[in-house]
């Protein structure tokens, strides 16, 4: 088993794809590049997934071991520990600034909730469409 650093790089450095890959590894445990690529919601090239996994490993978020000719990747932290650290990094990173403004912090939280509202709006739209589809004559 190899690991690069003792302490992983900051969470802010993770992109959407990296977070999606982390989610897959938490959900399914140790996986190789091919398995991760298969489980991603959008199809991506094998090399893209391989590079992402390698980057996460180099940032210290993943461990890897060689099995036959492929690397098997697994997370170094549980999802709970990761989420705890994410919240801690966010708040600490903000509060260590010279003049932390509580209003801005709250505004960020409101924005985050807004993103959730956007998702709920999208889901509601889908539900309305489905209802219309079911209400059409000839549909049960």
């Amino acid at each position: 088993m190899q690991a690069v650093d003792d302490k992983p790089a900051g969470l802010a450095s993770l992109g959407h794809l990296e977070i999606a890959v982390m989610e897959i590894l938490w959900e399914h445990g140790e996986s190789n590049v091919h398995q991760v690529a298969q489980r991603l919601e959008r199809p991506l090239a094998y090399t893209t997934v391989m590079t992402t996994l390698d980057r996460l490993y180099k940032k210290g978020w993943l461990e890897r071991r060689k099995s036959e000719r492929a690397y098997l990747y697994s997370t170094r932290q549980s999802r709970e520990a990761w989420e705890h650290q994410a919240a801690e990094d966010f708040v600490t990173g903000y509060l260590v600034r010279p003049h932390p403004a509580g209003e801005l912090l709250i505004s960020c939280l409101v924005d985050a909730v807004g993103q959730n509202a956007k998702l709920l709006d999208e889901l509601e739209k889908k539900i309305r469409l489905k209802r219309k589809e079911l209400d059409r004559p000839g549909k049960s």
Partner: protein, 322 residues
């Protein structure tokens, strides 16, 4: 250390439990990704049962090995008059076994106490009412609370805001979802998961628990919907409405919320809208499968209690005790 006959049996049983449990937990940790892949291909109810069985297997199998092999072989083959030293390794394993059981029992007890407190608080704050024949506690100002709390006789707890925002059909679908949790005794299963010892820090067993939680929700969705596309849409709408009122972090470890932490919400709604996959009606294991499992378990039990097995087990115990 020289110990009396029955104390020695207790120490040996505990040590044996610990060692067998570690081996089985390592194996299950290793098998977890494969089991999750198998679960993906099954219906949610069946997937949830598979993952629950896999998560509990190390603990249940270890208890069975101790009860059906170690204890009989010791009682049958160990002369009562023997004076035998108990080695450090055996004592350490027994102590570790006690430690993991204390931690697990503490976790379970804490969950039971918290659940009791939570229900009492709901009784104090809420007003009892009947919704589509179901008794429920309605609480003012509780955001998106729609949950089944408690273990043996779970209670529905619902916020007034949810009642005001859901249409009659959405409420019916949501109640059927919680009813499905009630009939499959999901809160009791949660307690079993809390009581199952965690010997290893690995992610494998945790992923089985998370997988179980996900498929349990999906299975309850399927049972509530029972293949009816209209109800499927109503349940999806209810999920979104409740999520809008605020995702309730589960206040007690022994409760199932309609929209637990909201993490799986999008997947659940999409699933319900693509009603093709839904339609699982309370399908229990087929009689042939149950009969085969019982036959297999019975054969194993009889084989494990045979003289050859017991003699071999006794030889292993002799090594362990030194």
């Amino acid at each position: 250390m020289i110990l009396p006959y029955l104390v020695r049996l207790t120490v040996l049983s505990l040590a044996c439990f610990f060692l067998v449990h570690v081996v089985l937990a390592v194996a299950m940790n290793w098998l977890a990704p494969w089991l999750l892949r198998v679960a993906e291909r099954r219906r949610p109810g069946s997937a949830a049962r598979l993952l629950l069985a896999a998560r509990l297997f190390p603990s249940v199998a270890s208890v069975l090995v101790v009860a059906c092999v170690c204890v009989p072989s010791y009682l049958w083959l160990e002369p009562e008059a023997t004076v035998e030293r108990v080695g450090v390794v055996c004592l350490a394993a027994a102590l570790l076994s006690v430690a993991i059981w204390v931690v697990s029992a503490g976790r379970g007890l804490r969950a039971i106490i918290l659940s009791g407190h939570y229900l009492r608080r709901c009784r104090e704050l809420g007003r009892e009412t009947r919704l589509a024949g179901e008794k429920a506690r309605v609480i003012d100002g509780a955001g998106g609370l729609f949950a089944l709390a408690g273990i043996l006789r779970p209670h529905l707890v619902i916020s007034r805001e949810v009642l005001q925002n859901l249409s009659a059909l959405e409420l019916e679908a949501a109640l059927l979802h919680e009813r499905a949790h009630f009939t499959s005794r999901d809160n009791l299963k949660r307690l079993l998961l809390l009581l199952a010892p965690h010997v290893l820090p690995g992610v494998g067993l945790q992923s089985l628990e998370r997988g179980w939680a996900k498929y349990t929700e999906w299975a309850a969705d399927d049972r509530a919907v029972a293949g009816d596309p209209g109800r499927s849409v109503s349940l999806a709408a209810a999920l979104v409405q409740v999520a809008r009122l605020g995702v309730n972090m589960e206040a007690s470890p022994l409760m199932t919320s309609l929209v637990a932490d909201g993490r799986d919400l999008e997947a659940r709604v999409n699933r319900l809208l693509g009603a093709a996959q839904c339609g699982e009606i309370t399908r229990q294991g087929t009689p042939a499968f149950i009969a085969a499992s019982l036959l297999g378990a019975g054969t194993l039990l009889v084989a494990s209690m045979g003289p050859t097995t017991l003699q071999a087990a006794h030889r292993l115990l002799e090594h362990l005790i030194r």
